[in-house]
C-alpha cells in the first residue's frame, strides 16, 4: 500500500517538475504562471487591461492576415456555387416577374396600410435619445465557440466605438459591443446566451426579455405574462425600457415551425453579416 502511494507521488512529481531534454519550462512553473495570469485578469489591474488590449489587437490582426488563403478558398467555392444558383434563380425570377406584374396594383394599398400601422404602433423617434453616432465597420472574424457567439469588427476606440453600442446588419439589430480595443471591437450577438434585450411584441402591449439560446432560429422570450401565448408571424421590437435603445427597432419574428410550434427567429442573419453599422442606441438610419 505504502509502495503504491510512493509510486504515485514519484510519478506525479516526475510529471510536474522534471524537465525533459528539450523542455525549457517545467509544467509546475507554467501552471503557476497561468494561475497568476487568471488572477491578475480577474481583478482587472490597470496594466492588465492595456496588456490585454494590445494582445487582442495583435492576435486578431495576425489571425485576419493569415486567414486570407482560407478565405480565398471559401470565396472561390461560394462564387462557383453562386454561378450555378444564379442560372436557377434566373428561371425562377422570370416566373416571379410575371406574378409581380399582376401584384403591382396592390402595392399602393400596402404602402398606405404600412403608414397606418406605423402610426398605430407609435414608434416615432423619441427625442430623449441622443442620436449622433453611426459608423460602418467590417466584420473581420466570425467567432462561434461553446462559450461565446460573437463577431470581431475592424474599428475600435480609435473611431469612437464604446462598450454597449448597438450593431445593425442591414436594418436589423444584431448585437451589442461588449469589448473595445484600440483597433478592434467585439460584438456579442443577440443569439448568445448572455444576451438579454427588453422587447415588445407587435400588436400587443406585452413586454418581455428576449434571450439568446445559441441558435438564430430559436430565441427565447422571458418574463411574459401568465397564460400568454405567442402568435406566429409577429414582429418583435425593442421596447426601449433599458433607457439606451430607441423603441421600435425590429429585432426578431415569430414563426410556425414544422412541428407546429411557435418559435422566434432573429431578423438579422449574423452568418451573412460582412459590413455592419455601429450606433449609440438609435435606430439604423
Amino acid at each position: 500500500m505504502a509502495n503504491q502511494r510512493d509510486d504515485f507521488i514519484i510519478a506525479i512529481r516526475y510529471a510536474l517538475l522534471k524537465k525533459s531534454a528539450k523542455q525549457k519550462f517545467s509544467l509546475f512553473f507554467l501552471i503557476l504562471l497561468s494561475i497568476s495570469i487568471i488572477t491578475l485578469d480577474k481583478f482587472s489591474f490597470p496594466f492588465m487591461s492595456s496588456t490585454r488590449s494590445v494582445l487582442n489587437d495583435l492576435v486578431y490582426h495576425v489571425s485576419v492576415i493569415s486567414s486570407q488563403p482560407a478565405k480565398l478558398k471559401t470565396y472561390l467555392f461560394k462564387k462557383t456555387k453562386k454561378h450555378y444558383k444564379t442560372i436557377d434563380e434566373n428561371k425562377f425570377l422570370r416566373k416571379e416577374i410575371e406574378f409581380l406584374k399582376r401584384e403591382k396594383f396592390n402595392n399602393a394599398y400596402l404602402t398606405s396600410e404600412n403608414e397606418i400601422l406605423k402610426e398605430a404602433l407609435d414608434f416615432s423617434t423619441n427625442k430623449n435619445f441622443e442620436q449622433n453616432f453611426s459608423i460602418t465597420v467590417k466584420v473581420i472574424l466570425d467567432l462561434e465557440s461553446v462559450f461565446v457567439k460573437s463577431l470581431l469588427v475592424n474599428k475600435g476606440t480609435n473611431k469612437g466605438i464604446e462598450k454597449g453600442m448597438t450593431v445593425f446588419s442591414k436594418d436589423y439589430l444584431m448585437g451589442t459591443i461588449i469589448e473595445t480595443n484600440y483597433l478592434t471591437s467585439r460584438v456579442l450577438l443577440l443569439t448568445d446566451l448572455n444576451s438579454k434585450l427588453p422587447v415588445i411584441i407587435e400588436g400587443s402591449n406585452v413586454n418581455a426579455i428576449l434571450e439568446g439560446t445559441g441558435k438564430k432560429k430559436n430565441l427565447r422570450l422571458n418574463y411574459l405574462p401568465e397564460n400568454y401565448e405567442i402568435e406566429p408571424n409577429k414582429i418583435i421590437f425593442t421596447s426601449g425600457k433599458d433607457g439606451f435603445l430607441t423603441p421600435g427597432i425590429p429585432v426578431a419574428k415569430t414563426y410556425l415551425s414544422k412541428k407546429d410550434k411557435v418559435l422566434i427567429k432573429l431578423l438579422a442573419d449574423p452568418d451573412q453579416a460582412l459590413i455592419v453599422n455601429v450606433t449609440n442606441g438609435q435606430i439604423n438610419q
Binding site: 510519478a11 506525479i12 510529471a15 531534454a21 528539450k22 523542455q23 519550462f25 497561468s34 487568471i38 472574424l141
Partner: protein, 177 residues
Amino acid sequence: MAKLTSKLKMLNIKQAKIKLFTSLPVISLYFFSFYHFQIPEVGKIGIFSFNFQMILIYFYVLKFPEDLGFGNIFLAGIINDTVIGIPLGTTSLSYLLLSVVTSYVRNATIRPVLTSEWFAFIPALFFSNLVYLVIINNFSNISFYYLELIQNTFFTFLFFPIFHFIFSQYQKLIKNN
C-alpha cells in the same frame, strides 16, 4: 570547391526540411489556436465538433514529448483565450493540466497499448474540462453551452484513435526519412 558548396547547400536544405517536419505539431497547435473557428472542415463539422488541440497535445506529450514543448502549449492557450474572449490563462491552464495527466500516464505506463492510451484520455479530458468550467464559472460572467461542450468532449475522445493512427504514421515517415 563548387562541389563542396553544393553539398553544403543540399545539407542545409535537408536540415531545414527536417526542422520543418518535426516542428509541424507546434505549427498545427498555433494554427488551430488562431483558426479553429474559421475552418468548418476542421473541428467544427456540425455536431461532430471536436477539440483538435487536445488530441494533438495528448498524443505528443504521451508519445513524443520532445516535439511539443510545454512553453508552446502555454502560449497556444493564451492565443486561444484571446481569440475566444475568455479570461486569459484559462485554456493554458486546461492544456497544462491535460499535459500533467498525460505525463503521469506516460510515466506510469510500462507497455503502451492504443486501448489503454485511449481510455486514459478520459480522465485527462475530464480534469482539463473541469478546470475550464470552474474558471469560467468563477472568474467570468460568461454562460456557456453545456450540451455543445459535452458533444465536443465526447467526439474529441471518439476521434482519438483516428488521429493516433495519422500522427503515428507521420512520425514513422519522419523517422524513416
